[in-house]
Amino acid sequence: MKATLILEMFPIALMFASPIIIAALGGLFSERSGIVNIALEGIMMVGGFAAASVTVLLEPSTPLAPWIGLLVGIAAGIAMSLLHAFASINLKANQVISGTALNILAGGVTIYLSQIIFHQQRTRSFSNGIQKMTVPGLSKIPLLGKMFFIENYPTFYIAVALVLITWFLVYKTPFGLRMRSCGEHPQAAASMGINVAGMRYIGVLASGALAGLAGGVMVLTADIQYTIMSIHGTGFIALASLVFGRWNPFGVLAAGLFFGFSTALSFYAKDITFLAKLPSEFFYMLPYIFTIVALIFFAGKSVGPKAAGEIYDSGKR
């Protein structure tokens, strides 16, 4: 395998990794606060649809259209996650069922609105998504410059920044400590005067914002329009990254990069002698197989938030 080939893979791998990382960070906020969110996929779809639609509609009037699109994607994601928060926090709904409902809902809502707005099964295609950029200065660094700073999507830098912000918020601030305590032992947290429901609302809405952003990022970098296939399971890969990354921001970053590269590898496999014989489906399967292996490996160790997925009963001991 030639070294240049690996370098060539970087931009495309980082492009795939970015939405995975961002959505997985969303999952991290939600699960650390104690609410399982398997609707990352559905929220990404809604975010991607909103971002693509806004980009298409604003494109003629402003060059900032894709960035406004991302903001609207975030807003749409928050709106979607509000349903999940209300159902699972206020109405004590089963979180997996509520998440499943949102995943079904997303496919319906996005294509329904596409038909109403664009009179077809998808959004119209936008002429410019988010543009690649070369970072001046940093791109001169030998090797690293070529890997990360030449002709990359800026969304990757957003993803890395979000990893640092998440780490700081969740592990270095009183807010983060309180949030994590709600995911570990909500009754104990409540006894210390922490507003469990409020914390969980923040966690779920943050997951909505991030997954919405991830959907927008994905559609505006890897696609030319939103279709029902645009997200194709990336939300579930994000969920896998969360598990694989041991519910930790840096773990999520590593897992997201790993899955990004395994996706990129499926495109380049035909150029690499010892991989050429493997079918591309093999590479598509990898993230899922690795996640199951990781789950077995972590089994019995307390890795994830202990109370995630449990319905909060303030009277329970």
Binding site: L91, N94, I97, T100, L105, Y112, F236, L239, A299
Partner: protein, 364 residues
């Protein structure tokens, strides 16, 4: 409210609210809910209320074939659910089931009386195997089944596409060669009876599966111990029940139901194996069916017919200018309302206590 009426009433309220919300969305986007409901009626009865009461039995046939696989995936979700497991894996189990059905259809030469049962058996076993893996991981390592079954769905999806495209060979990157007649659930008699619909004998395994579900869960000691594990794992263990074995078996039986759905689709609705661009959502439909059907065989039958009707009405709605995705929206809101039943119950209880209070007030 007694437990029993509550079990029937809650899903009905959820269904009603789902349709209500769907109608509101249709109205607010400038379409007519009348054409939506007339499409649904036409899908079930074959009668066109809008255009001169014409009758076409083909719609009834299509309505039934839409219901068949989702009743089976509904049984799959419900069976695991009764043992306290949350399996999202019906989608993948269905795919390996259809893959196994494809393999037996294309590779085995046998008379129909042997070939069809072999196809069904292979699909059933493949589904059971695929469901057994998360069951084993849950029992052995206590790995949560939700994440594993989601991952297994995607593995099955890519495995199916790989096998169809590379092992059986496809003409057009979409489907395999046609199956021999002996492997099919199709029957020209059923098709002509319903004016050329795709109705097939697949409803026989569906009915058998419904009966088997009800029998195992309600009438056998094994079913009793499965439910005991579902209610309280530790108590069941204390009572000497084999909890881990029950978890694995429950996931396997659930997988078998979903696997069977795969055969019903490939050998009934179609007559070839298919490579798919995306999963078709039968597994998620099954979750909706099981939730609305309250995890009971009879409930699942009705809920399966309800959602089958919605699926069958989709093309009719589209031709009336209503985006067919409204069905997904209605289905999702029904599931959401079922999930919110605690809140709905609170509202109902409040209404009831108000009524009581005013009645008491009247007596004084």
């Amino acid at each position: 409210m007694t437990k029993r009426t509550e079990k029937v009433l809650m899903p009905l309220i959820a269904v009603f609210l789902g349709f209500l919300l769907g109608s509101i969305i249709v109205i607010s986007t400038g379409r007519s809910p009348v054409s939506m409901f007339s499409a649904m009626i036409r899908a079930v009865t074959g009668i066109d209320l809008v255009n001169g009461m014409s009758f076409n039995p083909r719609y009834i046939g299509e309505f039934i074939i839409q219901s068949m696989p989702i009743i089976l995936t509904g049984l799959a979700f419900a069976f695991a659910s009764r043992t306290g497991l949350f399996s999202i894996g019906a989608e993948g189990q269905l795919m390996v089931g259809s893959l196994a059905a494809t393999a037996v259809s294309l590779l085995v030469v046998a008379p129909a009386a042997v070939h069809v049962p072999l196809v069904l058996l292979a699909a059933l076993l493949a589904g059971a195997l695929w469901g057994g893996i998360p069951g084993l991981l849950k029992a052995r390592f206590n790995v949560h089944e939700v994440v594993v079954t989601i991952m297994m769905n995607y593995i099955a999806f890519h495995l199916n596409n790989f096998t169809i495209l590379n092992v059986f060979g496809s003409v057009d990157r979409v489907k395999t060669a046609f199956f021999p007649q002996s492997a099919l659930l199709k029957d020209p008699m059923l098709e002509s009876l319903t004016n050329g619909s795709r109705l097939n004998w697949g409803f026989v395994p569906v009915i058998l599966a419904l009966l088997a579900f009800s029998f195992i869960i309600n009438k056998t000691t094994f079913g009793y111990s499965l439910r005991a594990v579902g209610y309280n794992k530790e108590a069941a263990r204390y009572a000497g029940m084999k909890v881990n074995r029950n978890i694995i078996l429950s996931m396997m039986i659930a997988g078998a139901f979903a696997g069977l759905a795969g055969a019903v689709i490939t050998n009934g609705t179609f007559n070839f194996g298919r490579a798919l661009p995306a999963s078709e959502g039968y597994g998620f439909d099954g979750i909706a069916v099981a939730l609305v059907g309250a995890n009971e065989a009879s409930g699942i039958l009705f809920a399966g017919l309800l959602f089958g009707m919605l699926k069958a009405a989709q093309p009719l709605m589209q031709s009336q200018g209503i985006p067919k995705e409204i069905v997904g929206i209605i289905q999702a809101s029904i599931v959401l309302f079922v999930a919110m039943q605690y809140g709905i119950k609170m509202i109902l209880d409040k209404l009831a206590s108000k009524k009581n209070a005013s009645a008491e007030g009247g007596q004084e």
